[in-house]
Symmetry: C2
Subunit: 366 residues, 2 copies
């Protein structure tokens, strides 16, 4: 019954994730599996805070953890850590860039027709509040769709509904590009310089297996100087003791989330470490190969797969996606349905194995 | 050696906080002591997420927890839960209100001369980006300082540096008032209707003893309709499946933080429960009475106390505040220093007892 494959599980990776003992967990595109080690790191911080209180030593500890996470996340994006902000979510980063970008009435933001509400919300804000036009085109042809009024392109790096990749041509355009990397970073290799993007927003809780409420935002130094920052918390200020003249931090920390907890940062950091120990090239290769394998197996069984790229998402046809998702959940198989489309979406990670795929395939025909 | 007092500790409250076994913890104005029970609640959520994964059932669970926290926090402010947003910090709430308020070049925001960087950052943003004047006056006389160009008043409910209360006259003005309640909610009774404020932002991690990264924002229904919302995450949207036409949630959830973790919300909820079980009127009365007692004792010992109100903060003269804070920390006494002022600040909570005050007093003369 076991599906044949040449892919060997990275030693020990699977055992890090308690949920995999029971569930065929194919849902990292929503939230990744949480490693037990990362949970322990969060618990240690919470217990330290309860025992020692939260005084200056606590904030120094939190600051150190944030510094480590910034370095780790920056490496995931191929950028300097000074250009990286720690956020609470992909959406928060996207909202900061789009909300702070200078746009005049009648100018246009170009986006794709398969964007997540987390990006669309910020775009609708720009449209409603600043009279900007938002034009939606298919992701694969977005680079050719740039028009004379296009001032900004904002779209997915990896489409959350289909798993399609943004076209490489985007990086060669003169118009600044903001990428929604919620399904990118951790799932596929990312290099913001090779992508040629001015900003890249990612999630901590999906393909990096961290806690809810974590994320990152890369903003290029050139764009950073151009973005208006209306919300400025203590951590974003240059000299917080200078009152109204505090100014902003020179580097990417001006975009940092206003408050992250030490327990969340420690949890995210150790989750990243678990994957880093398995090796990122191995993690990426294994996840994409398993996803490609699943794509083939679904097609063989007559389940049409949505057009996709070499990514970790596999969306496939379902006659009643919410009902089928629910039925699969009862069988211990975690996938999600895509609203407004006749699709279920399987998110395939390096922590998955062929048994997980097999359980899904068997359940689909049951 | 024990300082005499008529105040009896609320049964069992003190035992909830591990830090009090060792530390004279007078630092809730920065971050409150964390109850062991609240830490356990966070751990339970984290372990559930690791074991069961984070699928639809997880998000339903998180949503339930948020609903409970919204009700609990709304009761603390005396408002409808529909008018309350859950945020990551006081500053986040203040930034949303000030950033979304319609203000024209040449108009003015009135504030006090003892505001926290978390409010000043948002005010500096309005000044730098929208040409608004920001005028600072002493907190006790702020109501009389309203001028013809004043469109908004934004100031502390309880001053973080001194412990002064905003004047009651603010509530009778025609100009909308936004209160920074970081040192208010949980420390002193709050009723947003009695205060007559249009918005009130508070913290979860200070006087409510929750985790870092939690907070609340009340916005009156009248002001809500007038505020521009440029950042709109999934949770803020009316119909997230409607793409660019999703609109905003009708109620206060349009201002919710984009992502809170179940562990943070559960921790905040149980921390609130610990205090609620002791009784809020008892908690408020005891904290204020102990603070008043400390004020008297400091004065007796020749330490000048900063002008204050009937609040839980006691700031007092120090020749070298950072050095004295550090020396006290080494003796297991947690207070903070106030930048730019010759003051140390003791935050007195219902979890404190006279031994805590006594340890501080003895250490100050040591």
């Amino acid at each position: 019954m076991r599906v044949f494959s040449r892919f060997v599980e990275p030693t020990g990776l699977r055992a890090e994730f308690p949920v995999l003992e029971r569930v065929a967990y194919l849902n990292a595109g929503t939230d990744g599996p949480l490693p037990a080690r990362a949970v322990r790191a969060a618990i240690e911080e919470l217990e330290r805070e309860a025992a020692d209180g939260r005084t200056m030593a606590h904030f120094e500890r939190r600051s150190e953890l944030e510094g480590e996470l910034r370095v780790a996340y920056a490496a995931m994006l191929g950028c300097e850590s000074a250009d990286l902000a720690l956020t609470t979510s992909t959406s928060e980063g996207l909202a900061q860039v789009i909300g702070g970008f200078e746009l005049a009435d009648g100018e246009e933001i170009l986006t794709s027709d398969e964007e997540h509400p987390g990006l669309l919300g910020a775009l609708a804000g720009a449209r409603d509040l600043r009279g900007v036009a938002v034009r939606e085109v298919p992701l694969p042809s977005i680079a050719e769709a740039v028009g004379p009024r296009t001032r900004l392109i904002a779209c997915s790096h990896v489409g959350w509904a289909s798993g399609l990749l943004a076209p490489a041509e985007l990086g060669a355009l003169d118009v600044p590009v903001v990428l929604d990397g919620a399904q990118g970073v951790g799932a596929v290799p990312v290099d913001v310089h090779a992508l040629g993007c001015a900003a890249y927003a990612g999630a901590g809780q999906k393909w990096l297996c961290g806690p809810d409420g974590t994320g990152m935002l890369y903003v290029s130094p050139g764009l950073r100087e151009r973005l208006a920052v209306s919300r400025r918390g203590f951590r974003n200020l240059g000299d917080a003791d200078a009152g109204l003249d505090a100014g902003l931090k020179e580097d990417g920390r001006r975009f940092d989330a206003m408050s992250l907890s030490a327990e969340a940062v420690a949890c995210a950091l150790v989750a990243h470490e678990v994957l880093a120990e398995a090796g990122w090239s191995e993690v990426h290769a294994r996840a994409r190969a398993l996803a490609a394998q699943l794509t083939g197996l679904l097609a063989e069984r007559g389940r049409e797969v949505a057009p996709r790229g070499d990514t970790t998402l596999v969306s496939f046809q379902s006659d009643d996606p919410p009902a089928e998702r629910e039925r699969l959940a009862e069988m211990g198989i975690a996938v999600r349905h895509i609203p407004q489309r006749p699709w279920l979406r399987a998110s395939v990670g390096a922590w998955n194995d062929e048994d997980d795929l097999h359980r899904l395939l068997e359940a689909l025909v049951a």
